[in-house]
């Protein structure tokens, strides 16, 4: 129960700071010259995308270690990370079109990164569906570990494949060789937002982890009765 409470506090703090990100982005950060207000969405879009992808790596790593150790905590963590990753993917897939409509003139294009995010989202959804479809906890953990590892191994292929297509999507501004090419105030806002999203990820995962632990306890109890 303490864990659930800790997770809630972290999430509450992260949500409060998220409001701070909005205020900083809208009031204290200059508007971008060519894109105007639409560019503000980057402060949410990019950190969410970074965490959506990182969460999949965590799912894969936790799955590998699970198959070696059979530690249920790793399975619970992989499941929580996948749930949160799916949510972050959904954020990326929602904020992207909102920006794309005024800037590109279309909600969706089969562009490299859009396709990649959609792939990632479908991998998460498949992973969560598989977990729901297996009733035996041992089999559920093993099956989802197998799928998690396969999904992690597919990510580099998707990356490689989509970057071979011509792209409309803006290239990385912050993570690029040499100095980031954006004004200091924008970079500060962005880094602040990345920190907030990190906190959000941690808060969500801790909560989901605690919930799945409680659910397992409940299942075990109802079996005993």
């Amino acid at each position: 129960m303490t864990m659930l409470r800790v997770g809630r506090w972290i999430t509450a703090l992260a949500l409060l700071l998220l409001a701070g990100v909005y205020v900083r982005a809208l009031v204290y950060t200059p508007a971008e010259a060519s894109q105007g207000l639409a560019q503000k969405i980057f402060y949410l879009h990019v950190p969410a995308a970074i965490w959506a992808e990182t969460a999949m790596v965590f799912v894969g790593l936790a799955s590998i270690f699970y198959l070696f150790t059979k530690d249920p905590r790793l399975d619970r963590f992989a499941a929580s990370s996948a749930e949160v990753g799916a949510v972050f993917c959904a954020i990326v897939l929602t904020t992207g079109p909102i920006w794309g409509k005024p800037i590109w003139g279309t909600w969706w294009t089969w562009d490299a990164r859009l396709t990649f995010t959609l792939f990632l989202f479908l991998l998460y959804v498949g992973y969560l569906l598989l977990r729901n479809a297996v009733t035996d906890p041992g089999a559920r953990a093993r099956f989802s570990a197998v799928l998690g590892i396969c999904a992690m191994c597919e990510v580099p292929f998707i990356h490689l494949s989509v970057y071979m297509f011509p792209t409309l999507h803006p290239m990385p501004i912050v993570l690029q060789p040499g100095r980031p090419k954006l004004p200091g105030s924008m970079l500060t806002t962005w880094l602040f937002s990345l920190g907030v999203f990190t906190l959000l990820y941690v808060g969500f995962v801790v909560q989901r982890y605690a919930v799945s632990y409680l659910r397992e306890q409940l299942e075990a109890m109802s079996e005993r009765c």
């Binding site: 198959l67 792939f119 479908l122 991998l123 959804v125 498949g126 569906l129 598989l130 479809a133 297996v134 009733t135 041992g138 089999a139 093993r142 099956f143 570990a145 197998v146 799928l147 590892i149 396969c150 191994c153 597919e154 292929f157 998707i158 490689l160 494949s161 071979m164």
Partner: protein
């Protein structure tokens, strides 16, 4: 385990599956009929004056093979569920990897047969020249990739609720990549481009096959061990 032994056991598992299929012939006939029906859907589901056969041929070929392969893969472990045949297979003193390899070989032969039936039909119905040696290579490479992943996944999905529905949902994200590369290559080859123009995609397909076959052999024991 020594590799000749692994392969011998794998072949024993594969030949058992193929023998079962050869005796009944239900699955292969159903899937072959399915292929004909999908080709008919393609023919009637488009405006034939607007899209030329040559432009549509790669899509027809790959969409048909994808759906037929999913149907075939569903069946791979389904036959082991009857009378707990899988338990018998697992009790046999052979490596788990050879069970996977055996299933993979049987599935490859099964899906390969469907493709052998499907290709002339595509040539016949859509009047395109598909019997090209480089195209066979592309089809073989792409098929190995998605059948390798599909065999692994079907070992898991047969023991879940909604098995028939879950396999495509899990497998399609893994099929779309080889499918994409294969469809691009097929388009170029059908348009008469030389093999040298498509070798980049062929390399990708080969690497994909290698990674997922090895990964599946390593992961398969986790799907059957209790």
């Amino acid at each position: 385990m020594r590799s000749p032994e692994l392969l011998r056991h794998a072949w024993a598992v594969a030949s058992k599956d193929l023998l079962v299929e050869l005796r009944s012939r239900t699955a292969i006939l159903s899937v072959a009929t399915f292929v004909v029906l999908v080709l008919m859907v393609f023919n009637f589901g488009r405006d034939q004056t607007a899209v030329s056969n040559l432009d549509l041929a790669p899509s027809i070929l790959w969409v048909t093979f994808t759906f037929a392969a999913i149907l075939a893969l569903n069946r791979a472990f389904q036959i082991e569920l009857e009378n707990q045949a899988l338990d018998g297979l697992l009790l046999a003193p052979i490596d788990r990897g050879s069970i996977y390899l055996g299933k993979l070989i049987a599935n490859l032969i099964f899906v390969g047969t469907i493709e052998v039936i499907g290709l002339p039909l595509i040539a016949l119905f859509f009047n395109v020249q598909v019997l090209l040696a480089p195209l066979m290579l592309v089809i073989a490479l792409a098929t190995v990739g998605f059948v390798a992943v599909g065999t692994l996944f079907s070992a898991m999905t047969v023991r879940t609720r909604f098995a028939e529905l879950l396999l495509p949902v899990l497998l399609l994200p893994f099929m779309i990549l080889p499918l994409r590369w294969a469809a691009l290559t097929t388009g170029l080859l059908l348009a008469g481009r030389p093999l040298s123009e498509v070798h980049g995609w062929l390399n990708m397909l080969a690497v994909y096959d290698l990674v997922f076959v090895v990964l599946a052999i390593l992961l398969f024991p986790a799907t059957v061990n209790e």
